[in-house]
């Protein structure tokens, strides 16, 4: 059994509390099941909210997941189902995985297929319902390179169809670029209804001596909205005692804006095309530094292991072309307590 509490606060007046409890059990050596419940309570007075001239909002998302696996000799089949709901959003999703161990477990291939069906609503407007469907796949290969290192390569493609704008976001045509101040025209956000997203991932990890290891993750992402990004995330892990592990993380992220994104839409003719006020589609970069500590200890002689972990991070998002917001600083952390009985 595992429980975790994630908390986040940022300079854009957003606060998130997200507790999570998961129970997992292996029925025998070949199959097992798990179930989890999570909440996502957030309060926001973000730039999106203020530019739409609405009040600060508080909302709770509830999520239930379940899953299981069955292991054959070199093949493991696993799958899961997820249901998530909040007052203006509902989502059903599923995932299936095939894991194949090859070459005496030196090589592991994993094929995953996933999909979801969402219903996007709008608070206070029961007649507003827009569907969104997602389907995707991921193929990864993990290869042992030596007695102290391994490499993972993966490719993931996801197709999304349906409503992908925010029902709360309005875009100013003319004026200073926001609807908070008088603008000649404000129109609902309008983005394409189809999106094909691709990500290529490489991860490598190497042990140095008996107490130190380092990893490097790289991801290149591109989609047919013209948005592309790169992520580089090195980390260093140190075994500081018989039971404690300390980890230092760094993550750099940079993205190019979507083709139809503009900080300001100035012409009246812009109102008939795709328009967005979504800063996630603007050019931006972020830096995150983090620290984590994990501690394990055996409870008695019955085979029960208690794991406690704390992971914290400081992030700065820098927006290169978003009217009204230059950057956001955030502090986040997760506390984990887990009991494993074997």
């Amino acid at each position: 059994m595992s429980s975790a509490l994630y908390a986040r606060t940022d300079s854009n007046a957003t606060t998130v509390w997200s507790p999570r409890v998961r129970v997992a059990g292996a029925v025998d050596d070949t199959y097992g099941v798990e179930a989890a419940v999570a909440l996502d309570a957030w309060t926001g007075a973000s730039i999106d909210v203020t530019t739409a001239a609405t009040k600060a909002i508080h909302e709770v998302r509830k999520e239930v997941t379940s899953g299981g696996y069955y292991a054959f000799a070199d093949l493991t089949v696993s799958g899961g189902y997820r249901y998530s709901t909040e007052p203006d959003y509902r989502s059903h999703g599923g995932i299936g995985n095939l894991t194949l161990d090859l070459a005496n477990d030196n090589t592991t291939l994993v094929l995953s297929l996933f999909g979801s069906r969402d219903d996007v609503g709008r608070a206070g407007d029961p007649s507003f319902r827009r569907p969104q469907r997602t389907i995707g796949g991921r193929l990864s290969i993990t290869q042992l390179l030596s007695q102290a290192s391994f490499l993972q390569l993966a490719w993931e493609t996801t197709g999304i169809e349906g409503y992908q704008a925010s029902p709360y976001r309005y875009v100013a045509i003319g004026g200073d670029g926001t609807c908070a101040s008088p603008a000649p025209l404000c129109v609902p956000e309008h983005v394409p209804e189809q999106r094909l997203r691709n990500a290529a991932i490489a991860r490598v990890r190497h042990a140095f001596g008996e107490h130190v290891s380092a990893g490097l993750d790289y991801r290149f992402y591109f989609d047919d909205w013209g948005l592309s990004s790169q992520t580089i995330a090195p980390d260093l892990a140190l075994i500081v005692s018989e039971r404690g592990t300390l980890a230092l993380h760094y993550r750099y992220y940079t993205q190019r804006e979507a083709d139809f994104y503009q900080p300001r839409y100035l012409e009246a003719s812009d109102a008939t095309g795709f328009v967005t006020r979504d800063r996630e589609l603007s050019a931006m970069y972020s830096n995150r530094i983090g620290l984590g500590y994990l501690h394990t200890c055996a409870l008695g002689k019955g085979g029960t292991v208690l794991t406690t972990a704390l992971r914290t991070g400081l992030i700065r998002y820098k927006y290169l072309a978003f009217v009204g917001l230059d950057h956001v600083d955030a502090l986040e952390g997760t506390l984990l307590i887990s009991l494993d009985h074997r």
């Binding site: 429980s3 975790a4 986040r8 998130v16 997200s18 999570r20 999570a38 998302r61 999520e63 998530s84 909040e86 959003y89 509902r90 999703g93 005496n104 477990d105 030196n106 996933f114 969402d118 290969i141 290869q143 042992l144 390179l145 030596s146 007695q147 102290a148 391994f150 490499l151 390569l153 925010s166 997203r197 691709n198 990500a199 991932i201 042990a207 130190v212 290891s213 990893g215 992402y221 948005l227 592309s228 990004s229 992520t231 892990a237 140190l238 075994i239 592990t245 980890a247 993205q255 804006e257 996630e280 603007s282 931006m284 984590g292 994990l294 794991t307 992971r311 998002y317 997760t334 984990l336």
Partner: protein, 69 residues
């Protein structure tokens, strides 16, 4: 060179690596060498990233719903 050729070369490169016998994997099994973080430990972070950045994919957690925080 087409995509299939790149894939074939990649598989040759990867599967051509030195074999590591099960009894030689003590270092690889160390707790600091685990590739994926505990999913409960990173679920909140990854869900947040997915809704603050324009890109997604490659993470271990497959959280869903909007939760557009």
């Amino acid at each position: 060179m087409n995509v299939q050729s790149y894939g074939f070369v990649l598989i040759l490169l990867v599967t051509g690596c030195a074999r590591v016998a099960p009894y030689e994997r003590e270092t690889l099994a160390r707790r600091d060498m685990q590739l994926g973080q505990n999913p409960d430990l990173v679920a909140g972070e990854e869900h947040g990233l997915a809704y603050r950045e324009g890109s997604s994919g490659g993470g271990d957690a497959k959280a869903g719903g909007c939760g557009c925080n």
